[in-house]
Amino acid sequence: MSVVGQCIASFIFGTVAGLLVQRSRFCNTAALRDAILFKTYRNTKALLVAMMILSVGFTVFISVGQGHPMRFDVGLNTFAGLFLFGIGMVLAGACTVSTWVKTGEGNIGALWALLFTFVGMFLFSLVWSADYWPPPPASMTGHPDLASLQLGFANAATLQKTFGIPAAVFGLMQAGVLFAIYRAIVRKERRATQPAKVEAAPALAPLAKPAE
């Protein structure tokens, strides 16, 4: 596909995704934050369902050598970077998707978060230009390099190559694990709603007493 074709396909995908996210109020930040802080799982369940479909979808195509999986070395920086990102998204109340979507709804706070994401990226480019870490794509080897805290590259395709089992089998296993998490959440929600009905009445009683 031509470069312009790639840009057009991406724009169409982005537009539909933006529209669906706007209409459903899906938020990746909320999927994690609400589960941790408020024990509500509306977005978490949607995220898990998407990941199940993607795990099977991607690995089926990877099994037959199709698709464009991401290819770069990962390492300690992957964990550390997303740790910082995780703190940032909860503080900002938005992630990379919702900053764009909320900006489209006229939310100036989200636009502000987006601007400072750009500032953060530029600041990082200054630091990177001094220490050249993590290694740039051109010098990635695909193998562990402990001196630069890199673990190399591994995905469903390398699993298939190593074990001689189609990548889709691993994908189905991963989808199974995600489904188990999904089912545990649904059960937890059911348990949470049932006793609440029983306890609701006595819990209100002390509030009814006049304050002393």
């Binding site: 724009f11 982005g14 529209l19 459903s24 934050r33 992957t78 909860v90």
Partner: protein, 163 residues
């Protein structure tokens, strides 16, 4: 139209997005946002600094600013789609945080997101909608990182808001 009147079930929305994401994976690559945002940062910086940006090796070795980078258009598409959705459902209006503490948290949060994306080479979208479903080792590292970060961030959030 009913679609613009009622809130859509996020599970249905995400199933649709997942199917489209598989198509995008076949054409060019899985859904991602961070890379496009980095390229936009580079383009903005180039607009301000001109050729001075070439003195920073990052913009020569990692991201060479270019408008013909597909990931940029995912972000612009998401903005456009949300704008259309908000206007058609009459949900578009200018709103902004009221309290100084909110502005401060958003500023710090934005900076941390920017630095975090660049440090790890991935964003939350490529973590959940790309790397992990591709069973990339980085996906598991990133999910562990973002869960730990979200937990830590939630504790700060609790302290600041006093809940």
């Amino acid at each position: 139209m009913e679609f613009f009147k009622k809130t859509l079930d996020p599970v249905i929305a995400l199933i649709a997005i997942a199917v489209l994401d598989v198509f995008l994976f076949m054409v060019v690559g899985a859904w991602t946002v961070g890379g496009g945002e980095t390229m936009m940062t580079g383009l903005i910086a180039k607009g301000i600094l001109g050729h001075g940006i070439e003195r920073l090796p990052f913009w020569r070795l990692v991201y060479v600013p270019s408008f013909l980078y597909w990931k940029i258009y995912i972000s612009l598409g998401m903005f456009t789609g949300a704008l259309i959705g908000a206007i058609l459902s009459k949900e578009f209006y200018i709103r902004y945080p009221r309290r100084v503490s909110e502005w401060a948290m958003i500023t710090v949060g934005g900076l941390l997101m920017g630095v975090g994306i660049r440090l790890s080479f991935v964003c939350n979208v490529s973590t959940f909608f790309g790397l992990t479903p591709e069973m990339n080792l980085g996906g598991y590292l990133a999910v562990s990182g973002i869960l730990a970060g979200a937990w830590f961030g939630s504790m700060i959030y609790k302290k600041v808001l006093g809940i």
